[in-house]
């Protein structure tokens, strides 16, 4: 075993890790926003809208992410932008487009879990659809969905490693560049695997903590907000 490669190239590896984290953060924010929109559209009562959203969600969920990344990078984004996109842009767009379909399904199941009484109470207070969604239904649904969302974002972090296949120099690719030169593959790969593990496992511990937390306090907070609004 030859572990010196890691220390000698530590700065390079860390710069790769920074790119991975940037990519993951942007993709988390983007896919959360897009996923909520898709989930609400999927949940909508207007058949055309819920069908279109459903079609997108089902299509995305049934094809591999790597197909998405490659074709957004080589086919879709150049067509839209009129010029070649950077690796980072492509990876980000692909991860958002892919993960938002999964987030949408989580959002939909969260919305379905809302007690009818809440919705009826909000209606009887005279709140319109938008206020009902943003002030009553979504806050409750989102707290219930948090564990599922966190585990989805853990897979997103793991999925960022796929961006290395189109050439983005993130954490995985930076490791590859090092071992392609030094031929100490196993050491670098173990280091990379353990780093991903440290990030993802700490997030999964967080998700477990959130799971065991009762949601009663959050609900009463929503009630307070509702009172102010009415």
């Amino acid at each position: 075993m030859y572990w010196n490669d890691i220390f000698e190239n530590f700065d390079f590896l860390m710069s790769g890790l920074v790119v991975t984290i940037q990519l993951a953060l942007l993709a988390v924010i983007g896919s959360l926003l897009c996923g909520i929109v898709f989930g609400v559209l999927r949940h909508s009562k207007i058949p055309v809208i819920s069908f279109l959203a459903g079609a997108y969600i089902e299509f995305t969920r049934s094809i591999p992410l790597i197909l998405f990344i490659v074709f957004i990078h080589f086919g879709f984004l150049p067509l839209i932008l009129g010029e070649a996109s950077t690796f980072f842009q492509s990876a980000c767009v692909a991860l958002i487009a892919f993960t938002s379909a999964y987030v949408a399904e989580i959002v939909r199941s969260g919305l379905n879990s809302i007690d009818k009484g809440h919705i009826e109470a909000a209606k009887s207070l005279g709140l319109n659809w938008f206020d009902r969604m943003t002030c009553v239904i979504l806050p409750i649904a989102l707290t219930r969905m948090t564990p599922a969302l966190v585990s989805q974002f853990i897979s997103l972090i793991k999925d960022t490693s796929l961006a290395s296949t189109i050439g983005l120099i993130e954490f995985t690719r930076s490791g590859e560049i090092i071992y392609e030169r030094t031929y100490h593959e196993l050491e670098i790969l173990i280091f990379i695997a353990l780093t991903y593990f440290a990030i993802c496992y700490s997030l999964s511990l967080l998700s477990k903590k959130l799971e065991s937390k009762p949601y009663i306090n959050k609900d009463s907070e929503n009630l307070k907000q509702l009172k102010e609004l009415a």
Binding site: S62, P64, I66, V70, K158, L162, T172, L189, A193, F197
Partner: protein, 224 residues
């Protein structure tokens, strides 16, 4: 984007068919292995041997929380440096079945935990051994509950199998990618590839539904 070239797709169908064949082969072998690994880990984590349960828990967390691509690379590029050379397909099958097997073991664990504890006590009270209780009482009941999440793990396996193309296995994604990049047929190949993967995952989803309907005990609600 030039116009959609159907002729190109038709011409490359023989290659695509070979790719599909390999993808299906890898998926089926890995599914069977993953199922076996999943049951084994789930059973070992229930035993009373503390070091074994700890070790299995560590293995599960390590595998679950690292990207599949890295695991593939470890088997394919890492192991040769300690003198273990495996063929690319073998590496693909090993890493896919271990990765999916770990997820399946978690599904099993959730299913087993959802079986009432009295069932276990009653079985032990009737004089069944630990293994017999698992095999005859707990497992059949758990299996019924976990069929939908199990099906989605097999669907994930099919999608994840596309990653083996990065360790030089000429599976479906490899053929699609080659056609797209070498011949600049991005949209043709994307649509073809997406449709084929949709069909493959659709078949598994359909099978899952059929099995679920057949095994369902009428009047008994229970799914996770």
């Amino acid at each position: 984007m030039s116009e959609f070239d159907i002729k190109y797709i038709v011409e490359s169908l023989p290659y695509i068919a070979k790719g599909i064949e390999l993808t299906i082969f890898i998926s089926i072998i890995s599914s069977i292995l993953a199922f076996a690994i999943g049951i084994t880990i789930a059973f070992l984590r229930r035993t009373d041997i503390k070091p074994m349960t700890k070790l299995m828990a560590l293995f599960v967390e390590l595998t679950r929380n690292t990207p599949l691509l890295i695991q593939l690379y470890i088997y394919y590029k890492g192991l040769p440096s300690i003198g273990l050379n495996l063929s690319p397909i073998a590496c693909g099958i090993i890493s896919l079945s271990i990765y999916t097997g770990v997820f399946i073991s978690e599904v099993f664990r959730a299913g087993i935990n959802s079986i009432a504890h009295e069932q276990y006590q009653a079985a032990r009270g009737l004089g069944l051994s630990d293994f017999q209780t698992f095999r005859l009482i707990i497992f059949p009941q758990a299996l019924r509950i976990i069929i939908p999440p199990l099906g989605s793990q097999f669907i994930n396996l099919i999608k994840n199998s596309s990653l083996v193309s990065f360790i030089a296995v000429t599976d479906l994604f490899y053929v699609i990618y080659k056609g797209a990049v070498d011949d600049f047929m991005f949209f043709e190949m994307f649509i073809t590839g997406a449709l084929i993967y949709m069909a493959l995952t659709g078949i598994v989803a359909l099978l899952t539904n059929i099995i679920e309907q057949n095994l369902k005990i009428s009047g008994k609600a229970g799914s996770i």
